[in-house]
């Protein structure tokens, strides 16, 4: 796959890239590293997606047909870990690598060698994690939220590799985040004030701060697990004076900001795309920035809404319920701003715009179910059911993933100098759109009707909607193969792109030639 990506830069400028495999191993170029991140993320998407299809195949009908419950648990766990840490997060980092320097008028990322390292850690981390599937003890089977004591006292021996893997990807993310912060704070072109930065840069700046704030906490919690398992401490073991509920507090203190790490850059991407295709400036730029910042702030004081049924005192439940409900306000502001941007525009619906519009609609549906989940009394019914599964998949698949796909379609002409095939792009969109809704919408129903999540087999009344969801999953999963084809086809045979790419695009990246030269903005541009 990497070799096909080399053709991305056939048209490079005077300082060309080195040839062969070593170019990719040793590269410190932000565009190369961005490409590596994106291909890595896509590979992980296919691996994690295959796991999802195994899960959906087993759940197609009641009864155990294909796999054993033990392997089913390994699949749900690995699917979550691979998608969250391997697909969505690296895809956003890849986007940031490609775009942030071009958008702020910097020649490269601020710390190019560290950039290389933060990428190359990832294949090892995930290689190790995935190889545990083939070990005798099996892969981690305690869910991606790895609640103690299931993940400590009762864990398979592969938990140690899991912990090591989480440490590696945590270090990678922290390094990536620091790099992005340094690039934005230190390398902006003259005249590029903070409030002139494109929204994608803003959302990534805030995301990067979330990353350096919470990835170390995740590292801390897995370190505590490691010590409990191997060094006889008892952070989470009641027998030695520890507390399993404490695990959940520390985990979700990381976990909730983590959720926003996976959605804020998506907000950024959509805020770039909608104005372009509405041919109208983004409505409420500054309120978008403030809304993003308030969402990030609120994400630190809502973690216990994942723990409403764990037995918290009444006052604590009320506090976390109110705080969580507040998130609806800045999120609403964003949606209203996008709609206002479209209003009275002059719209066309190329593939990136289709995905962006679908993002606005489907993410909002995910937001609505999020608001319902915030209501603590009702959460006693929703918690740990398929309603929750439907909610976070709506936010992460037609949310984060659609935004990433939209971004790829939007910027790929700038990256490769060639357009993708618009007809195929539209096919990809409609198949994905139908597939995603057929998969995840029925999950709301089975969840409300009482189907718990993470079960390999279910009672008969859930059978019909599960069959529907499984069919949808295959439509959605297979249509991503079409995406792969479209991208490769664009790189190889696409129509030459203009420098502007889309009509009336604004922003520094569009002032560069298409494809963007290997070294861009060696001389900082002037920003008015």
């Amino acid at each position: 796959m990497m070799t096909s990506a080399t053709t991305l830069h056939e048209d490079h400028g005077h300082h060309g890239p080195a040839k062969g495999l070593m170019r990719w191993v040793l590269t410190t170029n932000h565009k190369d590293i961005g490409t590596l991140y994106l291909w890595f993320a896509f590979t992980m998407l296919l691996i994690g997606g295959s796991m999802a299809l195994i899960i959906r195949l087993e759940l197609f009908q009641p009864g155990m047909q294909l796999i054993e419950p033990e392997f089913f648990n390994q699949m749900t766990t690995m699917h979550g870990l691979v998608m969250v840490f391997g697909a969505i997060m690296p895809a956003f980092v890849g986007m940031a690598n490609w775009l942030v320097p071009m958008m702020v008028g910097a020649p490269d990322m601020a710390l190019p060698r560290m950039n290389n390292l933060s990428f190359w850690i990832l294949p090892f981390a995930f290689g190790m994690l995935i190889l545990t599937l083939f070990s005798e003890a099996g892969a981690p089977n305690f869910g991606w939220t790895f609640y103690a004591p299931l993940s400590t006292t009762y864990a398979p021996s592969s938990v140690t590799y899991f912990i090591f893997g989480v440490h590696l990807m945590g270090i990678s993310s922290i390094m990536g985040a620091i790099n992005i912060i340094a690039t934005i704070l230190n390398l902006r072109a003259p005249g590029m004030t903070l409030m002139k930065m494109p929204l994608f840069v803003w959302t990534w700046l805030i995301t990067a701060y979330l990353l350096i704030a919470v990835m170390p906490v995740l590292a801390g919690v897995v370190t505590m697990m490691l010590m409990d398992i191997h060094f006889g401490t008892s952070f989470f073991n009641a027998a030695g004076g520890g507390d399993p509920v404490l695990f959940q507090h520390v985990f979700w203190f990381f976990g909730h900001p983590e959720v926003y790490i996976m959605i804020l850059p998506a907000f950024g991407i959509v805020s770039q795309i909608i104005p372009t295709f509405a041919r109208k400036p983004l409505f409420g730029y500054s309120s978008m920035v403030y809304a993003t910042a308030s969402i990030a702030f609120l994400s630190f004081i809502v973690w216990a809404h994942h723990m409403f049924t764990v037995g918290l005192p009444l006052a604590t439940e009320l506090f976390f319920m109110y705080a969580t409900m507040l998130i609806a306000i800045p999120t609403g502001v964003k949606v209203f701003n996008w709609v206002s941007t479209m209003f009275n525009g002059s719209m066309t619906f190329e593939t990136p715009m289709l995905f962006a519009v679908a993002f606005v609609i489907l993410f909002t549906i995910g937001g609505f179910s999020g608001l319902m989940l915030a209501i603590a009394p009702a959460d006693f019914q929703y918690h740990d059911t398929y309603f929750v599964v439907a909610h976070f998949h709506y936010v992460l698949v037609p949310g984060a993933l659609f935004a990433i796909i939209a971004g790829v379609y939007y910027w790929i002409p700038k990256w490769c100098g060639r357009y993708y095939n618009e007809t195929l792009g539209k096919w990809h969109f409609w198949l994905s759109f139908v597939g995603v809704n057929v998969t995840f919408f029925p999950m709301h129903f089975v969840g409300l009707a009482g189907m718990p999540r993470r079960i390999p087999d279910y009672a008969l009344q859930f059978a019909d909607f599960n069959a529907v969801a499984s069919i949808g999953a295959f439509i959605f999963g297979l249509s991503q193969i079409l995406f792969l084809y479209i991208v490769i086809d664009a790189i190889r045979n696409g129509k030459k792109a203009t420098d502007e790419v889309w009509e009336g695009t604004e922003g520094l990246e569009w002032t560069l030639p298409s494809p963007a030269p290997y070294h861009s903005f060696s001389e900082p541009p002037e920003v008015k």
């Binding site: 009864g63 419950p69 089977n141 609640y147 004591p149 299931l150 006292t153 009762y154 009641a238 507390d243 399993p244 509920v245 509405a278 041919r279 109208k280 400036p281 409420g284 309120s287 049924t309 037995g311 009320l318 409900m325 609806a328 306000i329 609403g332 209203f336 709609v339 206002s340 479209m342 009275n344 525009g345 002059s346 719209m347 066309t348 619906f349 519009v357 606005v360 909002t364 608001l371 319902m372 209501i375 009394p377 009702a378 006693f380 918690h383 740990d384 129903f445 409300l448 009707a449 718990p452 999540r453 079960i455 390999p456 087999d457 279910y458 009672a459 019909d464 909607f465 069959a467 529907v468």
Partner: protein
């Protein structure tokens, strides 16, 4: 498959038209449940759902309108406006008001749910991998509740029954018209005890006791089913909750029966048992409680669950064998069955293990041996 789903769809629509209450498939919504609390939660759920739907209709309405009207292909010219403080303030203030309106009923409902005072019956619920134990505090009634669905049904060798995966060997029994408090805890990992019709879901955490309560109104006697809701290991999907609500007289009668059965069992344990009787009972107990890990013919499973056929324990010292079954083996997957099985069942299953599958020790373990070992 598609055609079958299609058939199901059409039959579901017909069924919905004919009788809405009897058809359980294609269930779309949260159950209203049978208690006051579950009804208030349902109302809250519907209230917020409708608020969301209306906001959605409004926002998406505007969006679809402009997607239709303001298209370049229709000759729309883009206006240049990109700011309006009034609008921004408006769509911050209105949602805030709506949220406050939602928070009020949510708070009252939550306060009601947390008021477990003045319960007349306390039942301690303990989650185990992968079953529930119900202990009626002060009543001397205590038992385990295991999944009753057979492996053959799960592995599609036999037709699935109506309550597939939602049936147990012994149900929890509660009276109607009385506030029953649940004290929920766990013995190993975190579980979650959930009955949707009661809107009771509470995590069972080792070392903690959480409380919850239910008051099933008189007239709502019946069977209510639920499941463990927190991932608790390999058989997380196979530990259902079944509660039978009885009228108060019937509940008292049930309690008396339980106590009488216990006395009868103790008396029976002192009686004589033939080898054949023990082997028959033992085979049943083994199939239900041991075969899951140790295999149908004592062949074991993987490295965690040792074979019993020809094992040092099963053909070795009888007392050591009894000790392992009664008290478990700390630090391994072997549980203590002392509290889970009766003296007769224990004697029978140990006898069975010592004689089945060519173990042929010829030993007969009687309930009296077990009573002695318990001392």
């Amino acid at each position: 498959m598609l055609s079958r789903t299609g058939l199901r769809l059409s039959s579901a629509i017909t069924a919905l038209l004919v009788s809405q209450s009897t058809y359980a498939d294609w269930e779309l919504n949260m159950p209203q449940g049978v208690t006051q609390v579950s009804q208030s939660i349902y109302d809250l759920h519907m209230l917020i759902l409708w608020i969301c739907v209306w906001i959605g209709v409004l926002v998406f309405g505007v969006m679809f309108y402009s997607m239709y009207k303001h298209r370049k292909s229709k000759g729309a010219k883009a206006s240049k406006f990109h700011e309006s403080l009034t609008l921004e303030l408006l769509w911050t203030a209105i949602p805030t008001l709506i949220l406050i309106l939602m928070a009020i009923p949510a708070t009252t409902t939550l306060v009601k749910m947390y008021d477990s005072s003045d319960a007349q019956i306390d039942i301690k619920i303990t989650g185990y991998q992968w079953k529930w134990e119900y202990d009626y505090l002060g009543e001397d009634v205590r038992f385990f509740s295991n999944l009753a669905t057979s492996k053959d049904e799960i592995y599609n060798k036999q037709d699935k029954g109506e309550n597939y995966l939602l049936e147990v060997d012994r149900e929890m029994v509660i009276p109607t018209g009385v506030k029953v408090r649940f004290l929920i805890t766990s013995s190993d990992v975190i579980h979650s005890w959930w009955v949707p019709e009661f809107a009771v879901k509470k995590d069972a955490v080792p070392g903690y006791v959480n409380e919850s309560w239910v008051n099933v109104p008189v007239g709502k006697e019946g069977i209510y089913r639920g499941q463990c809701a927190e991932l608790c290991g390999v058989d997380h999907g196979f530990m259902p909750v079944v509660v039978r609500a009885l009228s108060q007289e019937n509940y008292q009668a049930w309690l008396d029966d339980q106590r009488a059965a216990k006395v009868a069992e103790a008396a029976a344990a002192m009686g004589d048992f033939s080898y054949d009787e023990l082997m028959t009972t033992g085979a049943e107990v083994y199939a239900g409680r041991c075969a899951g890990c140790h295999g149908q013919s004592g062949e074991g499973m993987g490295t965690i669950f040792p074979a019993l056929k020809g094992s040092a324990i099963a053909v070795g010292d009888v007392d050591a064998h009894i000790d392992v079954v009664l008290n478990g083996v700390p630090g391994t997957a072997m549980q203590a069955f002392a509290a889970q099985l009766s003296d007769v069942e224990l004697a029978a299953v140990i006898t069975y293990e010592r004689n089945a599958w060519d173990n042929n020790t010829g030993d007969t373990v009687t309930p009296i041996n077990i009573i002695d070992a318990r001392k």
